[in-house]
């Protein structure tokens, strides 16, 4: 077995430090080591996007990132989005617009939306569909998800202070 490596990663604002095997996938680290099981695994080939998280301000598929690659980084997972009981506007959008059914793709879908709205506060429907192209949903047919993203974008624009609408964690 390969030598274990020490990693320190901030996840949802909390610092974590562990010795891990270099081959440990980030998604397994989050789920099995840290215990944050909101990030899901839906394929093995970086296609489905269920494992999407934010790493250093960019949405990534955490099944295709080694934990050691994230050493020293900042991670945002679905569990870190709400402020206490207050839902994030994106979560609110998914709820209001019935943007989920079985819920399995939802955390990844929400994080991809987070990425989109970080870069574009007023995306068109086409841009939304382009932005969630890396996230498969088998239940909804995507329409309510698009509605949810539009809802969230609008809500965030209303809440925006200056140009910063999201904290780019």
């Amino acid at each position: 077995m390969a030598a274990r490596t020490k990693v320190s990663i901030r996840i949802n604002g909390t610092a974590y430090s562990h010795e891990v095997e270099p081959r440990l996938l980030l998604v397994h680290y989050l789920r099995d080591v840290v215990g944050l099981t909101g990030t899901h695994i839906g394929c093995e080939t970086s296609i489905c996007g269920a494992c999407t998280i934010m790493l250093n301000g960019a949405a990534v598929k955490s099944c295709t990132v080694l934990t050691v690659q994230a050493d020293g980084g900042e991670v945002l997972t679905i569990e870190g989005l709400a402020q206490g009981e207050e839902l994030h506007p994106i979560q609110e959008g998914f709820w209001e617009c019935h943007g989920l059914q079985c819920g399995y793709c939802t955390p990844g879908m929400i994080l991809s939306t987070y990425q989109l709205l970080l870069r574009d506060s007023k995306p068109s429907e086409d841009e939304i569909r382009h932005a969630i192209d890396g996230n498969l949903c088998r239940c909804t047919g995507y329409q309510h998800i698009v509605d949810a993203v539009q809802y969230a974008a609008k809500k965030l624009r209303q809440k925006a202070v200056g140009n910063r609408i999201l904290d780019p964690i």
């Binding site: 077995m1 095997e21 081959r23 440990l24 397994h28 789920r31 099995d32 944050l36 099981t37 909101g38 990030t39 899901h40 695994i41 839906g42 394929c43 093995e44 080939t45 296609i47 489905c48 269920a50 997972t77 679905i78 569990e79 989005l81 709400a82 839902l87 979560q91 998914f94 709820w95 209001e96 019935h98 989920l100 059914q101 079985c102 819920g103 399995y104 793709c105 939802t106 955390p107 929400i110 429907e125 939304i128 569909r129 382009h130 969630i132 192209d133 996230n135 498969l136 949903c137 088998r138 239940c139 909804t140 047919g141 995507y142 329409q143 309510h144 998800i145 698009v146």
Partner: protein, 782 residues
């Protein structure tokens, strides 16, 4: 005050907060102290004899606890079950781990148990299996040939079962008809691809003798029964829990080898065990859908009246049966009348063994095939007769006053107004405008197509007499001492939203706040009994059971209130969540107060049992038959073969709507899946039985960019079959959409002389047809 009339309102889902916060628990999110991880070694051969398995090297891998093969398990775990009453059925034994031979790529041959999943995976590479490859047959038509390899030696013809249905004077009808149109149709194999793969956690308490199994299943109660039989454990010591389940679409309406295997391993090792299916395993070893090849013939009069339909179909079963495998093609047969009056119908099904994974129920399960056959043929016949596809449909619809309508296949369609749905869809899409546009663009060398599908489907499954394992459903309503209401249901939602819709039904019935209601499902130790979620049955059958339980609770509450008021039952009125005596509305008593009295049990009527709860089991008298009209407009680029969906309109009638938000969601998701079948999806095995679409890198699902914005509308024709008037909507979108899209593409390509294309309508197929035509016409010019 409680809002009355939640039924019919767009209530946002009560299950969502845990899901959107990432706090829900799917099987893989469950961890137990001392849990071990299981990885399964699967056959790389489609057909091979197992001459030996060496597991010693795998056991040397650090953190590996045990390795099991088929011979280690022997008869201690029973075979994978199949539910069918078909007398012609042949059932090959499907062991949870193969020991003598394997019959498809992905069949399980060994299981590694380790302290973590990385070690378990490492150990798989160290197991050596000595296979002797056998001849393979993967094409069901070839499997019927004399020269074909034989999969199960008991049945050299590879026939798994036969099923036929004949009604009407077919030979006369076909002899006298003005027009007979024939077509060969292929319904390709599909992979359901629920986004959460399957997964199982099993725990055994030897002291209590209790096995608890968490599984990503649609049918916890049926699974509990089957597990007890397979594991030879008394059923009352088996508990199955379906925690959060990430989609099913029929793929989890089954009893799988891994479920029993994990139960066995937990008992054998005395430690909890977990197995989580990978996506590649999922495509290899979770059931597939569709897989039919058929020849259809339709007889019609010159004016478009359909006289008869014959369908001979080969159903590609795979190597073994799963739970409902032989039950799917008969559903196709029963639904072959579609939304039309067809006096003579026959179907001959031949189920055929092939060296592939089993086919079974996938969203629609038999009805998409029937609808595709009928709707494709309505267009084919219309084209032959030079009629508009709208006109031929109108001509053959039963009229609203003809319901209940009996089909030649023996079904009784409960209620319907097919014309109304079609008219609404035509108006919504702007049919005539598109027809003009089509004409105009064709002159510019652009190819627009308009496709219709007016479907009817069978759901709310169903009367027990017509089901393989019971068609009733269980519901219970319990008012807790504090007045909170608990609903227990035997259905097992996994995305459909019954935690919300059932609460709406009960909130209205009992006049309580929806937030004071909770819906419990999916735990056989908590919910007394049940059948499960499939066949678009949960609301129509399970919702009715819940409604009836609530009505019983209300009746008991009324008796208690009458007793407390010392009034006659008839003098009590119920309004705004309170019982009061007629004429004295101010002096009311709430359900909460009654609940407390019911539990304190000091002032109850004589002989009344304490407590305030009731159960109900609803047995439907018939299936229900939702229907609708889907219209799709496409543009096809003959040079690249690309299909662009320009507009999609769907008018669906699922009877009474409990929650429009949920109904729209079901329709939209259903259409996207039907679109997947029409355009992209196909499980491909080569002639050696190797799976060529073994991951999502090769098996294409629709993405957000591939799917247009659907325009939805409804008509609402309640069913008389249940008091809710609800028919069911889980599969309608999938059933209605596929033929609409295919019909649109074929229509677009009619200038190229195209009358049919087999699905999926991949660009290359379209390109070839257009090339052939261009070559032919170029040749003609020369």
């Amino acid at each position: 005050m409680p809002v009355s009339k939640l039924v019919g309102a767009k209530v946002r889902r009560r299950e969502d907060p845990r899901l959107i916060r990432g706090l829900a628990h799917y099987v893989d999110d469950i961890s137990l102290p001392g849990i071990l991880h299981v990885a399964i070694l699967r056959s790389p051969y489609a057909h091979a004899r197992i001459k030996g398995i060496q597991t010693e090297a795998a056991l040397q891998v650090p953190r590996v606890v045990a390795v099991f093969t088929g011979s280690d398990i022997g008869d201690r775990v029973g075979a994978v079950p199949v539910a069918s009453q078909n007398p012609t059925l042949r059932v090959p034994k499907r062991a949870v781990l193969a020991s003598d031979k394997v019959c498809f790529v992905g069949e399980a041959v060994a299981a590694v148990v380790a302290e973590d999943r990385y070690a378990a995976t490492d150990a798989l590479d160290r197991i050596r299996v000595d296979y002797e490859p056998l001849p393979v047959v993967s094409d069901p038509e070839k499997a019927l040939g004399r020269e074909s390899p034989v999969i199960h030696s008991e049945w050299p013809d590879n026939v798994a079962f036969r099923w036929t249905l004949k009604q009407g004077n077919l030979s006369k009808v076909f002899k006298d008809a003005d027009k007979v149109v024939k077509q060969r149709l292929v319904h390709q194999r599909l992979a359901p691809i629920a986004l959460e793969p399957r997964g199982v956690v099993a725990r055994y308490f030897p002291g209590e003798g209790e096995l608890t199994l968490w599984s990503s299943t649609q049918i916890p109660h049926l699974l509990k029964t089957q597990l007890s039989l397979m594991l030879k454990l008394p059923e009352n010591y088996v508990r199955v829990i379906a925690p959060e389940v990430g989609g099913g679409f029929g793929s989890k309406l089954n009893v799988y080898a891994e479920e029993a295997l994990l139960g066995y391993l937990a008992m054998k090792l005395n430690r909890p065990v977990k197995w989580i299916e990978g996506r590649r395993e999922n495509i290899q070893a979770t059931i597939h859908g569709r897989g039919q090849v058929g020849e259809v013939e339709v007889a019609a009069e010159r004016d478009g009246t359909i006289l008869g339909l014959q369908y001979r179909v080969i159903a590609d079963i795979g190597a073994y049966h799963q739970l409902l495998t032989p039950g799917i093609p008969p559903l196709t047969g029963l639904m072959l009348s579609g939304a039309y009056k067809i006096p003579a119908i026959s179907i001959e099904v031949t189920g055929v063994f092939t060296n592939k994974m089993s086919t079974d129920a996938y969203r629609g399960a038999g009805r998409p095939e029937a609808t595709y056959v009928v709707e494709r043929m309505m267009d084919r016949v219309a084209r032959e007769l030079g009629m508009d596809p709208v006109k031929i449909r109108r001509k053959n619809f039963p009229k609203p006053k003809e319901f209940p309508f009996k089909t030649a296949t023996g079904l009784v369609y409960d209620s319907g107004n097919y014309q109304l749905a079609l008219d609404k869809a035509l108006k919504l899409v702007g049919y005539e405008k598109w027809k003009r546009q089509q004409k105009r663009l064709r002159s510019q060398g652009r190819y627009l197509g308009i496709g219709l599908s007016t479907y009817v489907e069978i759901c709310a499954m169903g009367p027990s007499a017509a089901m393989p394992a019971g068609g009733w459903e269980y519901g219970a309503v319990r008012v807790e001492p504090t007045g909170k209401v608990t609903i227990l249901t035997g259905v097992s939602p996994h995305g459909q939203g019954q935690e919300t819709s059932f609460a709406q039904i009960v909130a209205d019935e009992l006049g309580v706040e929806i937030d004071d209601i909770t819906v419990i499902h999916g735990d056989t130790a908590v919910v007394a009994s049940g059948i499960g979620t499939f066949g678009s049955r949960a609301t129509a059958v399970g919702g009715t059971a819940v409604l009836q339980a609530a009505q019983r609770v209300k009746e008991k509450a009324r008796e208690i209130a009458a007793h407390l008021f010392e009034a006659d039952l008839e003098d009590l009125v119920f309004a705004d969540g309170k019982f009061s005596v007629k004429g004295v509305p101010k002096k009311g008593i709430t359900l909460e107060q009654i609940a407390l009295e019911a539990h304190m049990a000091r002032k109850l009527p004589k002989k009344m049992e304490p407590g305030l709860s009731a159960t109900a089991v609803f047995e439907p008298s018939n299936f229900t038959f939702p229907f609708g009209a889907h219209i799709c407009v496409v543009e096809v680029d003959p040079k690249s073969g690309a299909v662009e969906i320009k507009k999609y309109v769907a008018v669906d009638d699922c009877g009474k709507v409990i929650n429009p938000l949920l109904v729209d969601g079901q329709i939209q998701g259903g259409i996207a899946q039907g679109l997947g079948q029409a355009l992209y999806e196909e499980v491909i095995y080569d002639e050696n039985g190797q799976l060529l679409t073994g991951s999502l890198m090769d098996y294409a699902l629709p993405r957000a960019k591939d799917v247009p914005r659907f325009e939805l509308a409804r008509t609402e024709t309640p069913t008389p079959v249940n008091p809710l008037g609800a028919k069911g909507v889980g599969e309608a979108g999938t059933i209605g959409s596929t033929p609409a899209i295919v019909n649109a593409v074929v229509d677009a390509l009619s200038p190229f002389g195209v009358t049919h294309i087999d699905m999926p309508l991949r660009p290359e197929k379209i390109w070839r047809l257009c090339q052939a035509k261009e070559a032919a016409s170029a040749g003609g010019r020369r």
